[in-house]
């Protein structure tokens, strides 16, 4: 809509600015809190302008013991753990769902629709529902306190399989036929034609899955007992309850700030592909 009415412009800008303020305020407070010393953060009212302790807090959080008086791992270690988990989950999910969607769309085998519905039904079984049996299995496999244990139970994905199925269904049959005449076998067709054609969808899904993996809370909490394997999201919560002292808001907020950076980076870096992947229909 293109309208040339100054009043309307002003109102819409006011609404937009209000929205930005509402969204940005908590982040601003997080940032401000991460730049003060611990004493200042216990006094009311809480500061609204940055203080001078950013670097001290930064180095203490990232490389030091984090919270003083506890035995938590340094935050760089948690960042690494979270990163490994998120990457393994997103790559694993993409690889498995690409392959299963490929099988379901392009191969005729007995009970094909049966398998499709089996996969689809697992949508109704998120981690929280199957948490006890899953824990038992992972414990029996000796995967507690390992990256495998953190990521494998979360890799199977009905949503992604379903999405790739829809993407593959939009690719015209002639593409497959033409590849067959060119002499491309199934795997060759998969690599040379299907994957490049679903490139943008893969990117969009990667963004969503990375954030999903990064934000996992319950499962890592359950299967990691060693401080070396804790992820950053669960440790923020632990910091709040740590020790019998008042929360050290400067450190906690700095940790939160650091936890935000990788997802933000992924979204910003893949924004263009992400939007294309969700909207593009031209095949």
């Amino acid at each position: 809509m293109i309208e040339n009415r100054p009043i309307l412009n002003m109102i819409s800008h006011a609404v937009l600015i209000l929205g930005v303020v509402i969204v940005a305020l908590p982040i601003w407070i997080t940032f401000v809190a991460a730049t003060h010393d611990p004493v200042r953060m216990t006094q009311a009212p809480i500061p609204m302008l940055p203080g001078g302790y950013f670097w001290e807090n930064f180095t203490q959080t990232l490389f030091g013991g984090g919270l003083s008086g506890t035995e938590s791992a340094p935050v760089w270690r948690m960042l690494l753990n979270s990163m490994m988990m998120a990457l393994m989950i997103s790559f694993g999910k993409i690889a498995i769902s690409l392959l299963s969607a490929f099988a379901i769309v392009y191969f005729k085998f007995p009970f094909r629709m049966g398998f499709f519905w089996l996969i689809f039904i697992t949508l109704m079984l998120p981690v929280e529902v199957r948490i006890l049996p899953t824990f038992q299995v992972i414990a029996d496999l000796g995967m507690l306190n390992s990256y495998w244990g953190l990521s494998i139970p979360l890799i199977a994905s009905a949503t992604a399989t379903f999405m790739f199925r829809q993407v593959f269904l939009t690719i015209p049959d002639e593409m497959l036929e033409s590849a067959r005449i060119d002499g491309a076998g199934p795997l060759r067709f998969f690599w040379d034609i299907l994957i490049p054609l679903s490139r943008t969808n893969i990117a969009a899904l990667f963004v969503i899955l990375f954030i999903y993996g990064w934000n996992q809370y319950l499962w890592p909490l359950l299967i990691t007992t060693e401080t070396d394997m804790t992820t950053i999201v669960m440790s923020i919560k632990q910091m709040l309850e740590a020790a019998e002292q008042s929360p050290q808001w400067n450190i906690i907020m700095m940790t939160a700030l650091l936890a935000m950076i990788p997802p933000v980076f992924v979204v910003v870096a893949m924004q263009r592909l992400f939007v294309q992947g969700l909207t593009e229909t031209d095949k």
Partner: protein
């Protein structure tokens, strides 16, 4: 180069038979057009030759080899699809080279063949573009280029011109014909457009409802259509069909008028006369109550009904005729251009 033989070919989906005992021999280097209305099974037949559809029973041979069980890639064929089926993420060059790359042909040889095909089709300057940056006609050329570089024994075309506008279609039609003559590759071309079929084919296979109605040269089909279907399908505007009674070499039309002909038949027949064979003749036996004129410039189409009946009839007259709507005009036709068909079976009765 190779000949193609179809022997007693049947295609069925479950219990529904869509192609019934197709027989046909295609000579080396011949250009065959399979033509018929939509749903007649022509594309299915082509896809069976390509190996994209399984054969229910019967035999297809390319050269001396029975190819029923071979994968499309092993049949030494190339196919041009209706929507071109170019790989959208590859450049024109990669599109053309893909099949060769899979066959592990040396890079220099691939380059040489792509270059050569691009020169033939005049798409040399587009080699590094993506298909979406090309116009419909250019994509069509790339699709043909992809077929040419393979140097196959057989070209298969599945309605390749139907996505182009009318002018480009005429131009590409000529180019496909020239290209085929130049390369001398056996070709099968599927279309529903009878003009395309007439102009392109060395021989035409007319399919209707999964049966071969007639298989012959365009002129044979025009001059001596074997069935009512072929007679109505080939030629534009299509043939007039008049119910008639044959007796002792005379045909009596629905309004009692008589035309001499049909000497080998008695009883109910259908008389076929092409619009262009109706001659304006004041003493002619066929009277047409004129309803409308269609001016085509070079000639005029006269639409009307046979005098005294409601059988529709079209005559093509040279030059401009525009007066006489509502009146009766009289026509005659020479005995040699009359077609007589059995009214019940629709089969041609030879003179």
């Amino acid at each position: 180069m190779a000949s193609i033989t179809m022997k007693d070919l049947v295609k069925a989906y479950g219990d529904t038979e869509v192609l019934h005992h197709i027989e046909g021999d295609i000579n080396d280097g011949e250009f065959i057009v399979i033509v018929g209305p939509s749903g007649c099974g022509k594309s299915t037949l082509l896809r069976m030759v390509a190996g994209l559809e399984t054969v229910t029973s019967g035999e297809i041979s390319i050269g001396d080899k029975v190819v029923n069980k071979l994968e499309p890639a092993d049949r030494d064929i190339a196919m041009v699809f209706q929507n071109y089926a170019l790989y959208p993420h590859m450049s024109v060059r990669e599109n053309m080279a893909y099949g060769l790359k899979i066959r592990k042909i040396a890079k220099a040889e691939i380059d040489r063949r792509v270059r050569e095909a691009a020169d033939i089709l005049e798409i040399g300057q587009y080699l590094d573009r993506k298909p979406r940056q090309l116009s419909g006609g250019q994509r069509q050329r790339v699709a043909m280029g992809r077929a040419i570089v393979r140097n196959p024994q057989v070209f298969l075309f599945d309605e390749p011109l139907s996505n182009l506008d009318a002018k480009l279609r005429v131009q590409m039609r000529l180019e496909i014909r020239k290209l085929q003559q130049r390369l001398g590759v056996t070709s099968i071309y599927v279309t529903h457009d009878q003009v395309e079929a007439m102009t392109l084919g060395d021989r035409l296979m007319v399919l209707n409802g999964g049966y071969v109605e007639q298989f012959g040269t365009p002129i044979e089909l025009y001059d001596r259509p074997a069935t009512l279907f072929v007679a109505g399908f080939i030629g534009s505007p299509s043939m007039n069909f008049l119910p008639a009674e044959a007796k002792d070499g005379t045909l009596t039309l629905g309004n009692g008028a008589t035309v001499s002909g049909g000497g080998h038949s008695t009883g109910a027949v259908t008389l076929g006369i092409r619009p262009e064979h109706l001659m304006h003749d004041e003493n002619g036996p066929i009277g047409i109550s004129v309803q409308m004129f269609e001016q085509l410039g070079a000639n005029t189409l006269l639409h009307g009904v046979l005098e005294g009946t409601d059988t529709e009839i079209v005559a093509s007259m040279p030059g401009h005729v525009s007066t006489g709507e509502g009146s009766v005009m009289r026509f005659s036709a020479e005995a040699s251009v009359l077609h007589v068909f059995d009214a019940a079976s629709g089969k041609r009765i030879e003179e």
